[in-house]
């Protein structure tokens, strides 16, 4: 039938799309992660926005072929006459007529209405699934992050409990001072976990300090490489001297150079000169 063929094409495209699309809203899938091969999984991994777009396209394809009596939303569960209905009386409101290809089924308009309503319903359902998927994905990310933190904290504690700093004679007095604060601030201390964030800070600073020389080496090497290529290209290009106003424009690129040079040296100096670690309870 003339009017149904395009819709079938759309269906094929949709199916193909659902098999090949990237996972929906998975923010940073690992590189080695590939969509699963089985059909249900492939549907789950399909990009909902693509599916919705395909459905909208289907809807658009179907819309112009509705009969004049077609109304908005028909129930997709309503009894639909089948092709075997042959010469029975058309349903009220249905469009029957003749096209260049021949007689049109008296039930065609109704079928299209039902199909269109189904498309809307599927679309609505997919939209809801998309939202739910998004929520679940965020929840999974939260879970993953919290588990990661928990693992790191457990690892820290397993490396050995930190001695209670109050046991240290040199520190006992200051600890006592600290407890003289406002009533709400006075409370027993939790020594072991307490050192976790301080250790993390020290580790972050140590890592940066350890990279200090590497930063210098890489900066100089890459900068020299880029500059070398640019200068070489400029020389090879043998650019003719343009009007002075045009030739001077790239001068604006030189404005921030002193700032970046000073910043580079300053960062190196502050990392070299300062002991930035905080004292933890570690012996």
């Amino acid at each position: 039938m003339n009017g149904i063929e395009p819709a079938r094409d759309v269906m094929v495209t949709t199916e193909k799309a659902s098999r090949t699309r990237a996972p929906p809203r998975r923010a940073e899938p690992p590189i080695d992660e590939a969509p699963p091969a089985s059909a249900p999984d492939a549907i789950a991994w399909a990009d909902p926005s693509e599916v919705l777009a395909q459905i909208a396209e289907m809807d658009e394809e179907l819309r112009p072929r509705r009969g004049p009596g077609a109304t908005g939303k028909a129930s997709p569960t309503a009894p639909v006459p089948t092709a075997q209905d042959g010469g029975r009386t058309p349903a009220p409101g249905s469009a029957a007529g003749t096209t260049p290809a021949g007689d049109v089924s008296p039930y065609l308009a109704q079928r299209i209405d039902y199909a269109s309503a189904s498309v809307s319903e599927i679309g609505e359902g997919l939209r809801e699934m998309d939202e739910r998927w998004h929520d679940l994905h965020q929840a999974a990310e939260r879970l993953e992050a919290e588990l990661g933190k928990a693992a790191r904290e457990i690892d820290f504690l397993h490396r050995g409990p930190t001695p209670d700093p109050a046991d240290s004679p040199g520190l006992a007095a200051s600890a006592t001072d600290a407890r003289r604060g406002p009533a709400s601030v006075r409370a027993p201390t939790a020594a072991q976990y307490g050192n976790f964030t301080a250790e993390r800070y020290n580790r972050t600073i140590d890592d940066l300090k350890a990279r200090r020389r590497a930063i210098v080496a890489w900066t100089v090497a890459i900068a020299a490489g880029i500059s070398g290529v640019l200068v070489a290209l400029s020389i090879i290009a043998r650019e003719p001297t343009p009007p002075i106003w045009l030739a001077a424009l790239p001068g604006v690129w030189l404005v921030p150079v002193p700032f970046f040079v000073v910043s580079f040296l300053a960062t190196q100096r502050v990392l070299r000169r300062n002991h930035l670690n905080v004292a933890t309870g570690e012996p």
Binding site: A166, A178, A247, L249, R269, V270
Partner: protein, 391 residues
Amino acid sequence: MRSTTVLFQITAIGKNVGALEESARSVLYWARHTARLAYRIEVWLVVEPEGYATSPAVYEALRRDGVRILVVPRSYATPLGTSGKARALQFAVERRQALGLSGPATWVYHQDEETCVGQDTLLGISDFVQQDRLKVGVGVILYPIDWAGTPSHIQELTRTYDDFRVLDSMTLPANPTAGFHGSHILIRSDVEDEVGWDSVGYAPAEDLTFEIRARARFGAVFGVLKGFAYEKGAFSLADQLRQRRRWVHGILFALHRSRELPARRRLTLLYSALTWFSALPSTLVLALSLQFRYGPLLIVTGIFTGFVWVSMATGYLEGYRLHREYLPRSISRGRFLAHALVGALIDILAPWYALATRPSLGDFVAKDRPASVEAPGVAAAAERPRASRGA
């Protein structure tokens, strides 16, 4: 002899109640869970009446937990008639003096409404006040709270790496690259009393004005404060733009209106501003290079271009590495690059946008987590205990 006291002072309009509460409770929590502190702690919230009216219940709950709430009276006026945050800061100075808390044994740790502390922050402060060698300390700020990897969040990573430049500059006698912070700074209260925050009219960069005055009066009394502070970036590009606009207006204000700014500092500040303003023309000239032939000058600029590009990229890369242990999720390289470009574009536009528009008083930037950002304390749970944990 009075024991050393540190006032953790959060000065804000007070409308971002959620962020403000988390900041205050992070202090309460870590004060309770950090043993070797060489000082006693007080937490002060200095807010405007409209901020307090946003959620009195939250403020009263904090008061019950030991936080001192100061609501700046509408009728309060400073001698020079300043407004905005400088007015609230000056009010706190006067209040502290009236309570007899000012003096060399009292230090003020300044926080923005979203500045959370960790144990490392408190230990760093402890180290600084115990040494009692310098009078003002400034440290490095991370931006992991409510981190979602958006362009404005990626852009903040560069600020952290740039903080090392700020620390170096600030500890040198003339502050050659004009670095300073408005938060994560520790000031001995007698110095703050003497310098004050009062200015004629609205002072959009009260921190810069303070630094200029303190340096002029006390010399090189600035030192490195160990420990990170934990903040959050702007939630949207519009907020990022507004925040930067306020900074630009602060710099312009200092250049135009600060009579205490020495000629040399004025020059360095002017150059800093020029560097920022040159970003947009630089980008436009780069785009025009596709059309025009610039000629032999390219050979000269080519020598320096590599260093500038690598320095900018290093800011993002090292900024991310500094944050890595604190962020709730990793980010793909492609997304990182794309968001860095968008975030950078906003910073490129910001100074020119600031010239074209005027900030409103305080230029309110939302810091309370929008509904679209997930609620639980994922990003900096260790640094930002939820209310239930901190209670």
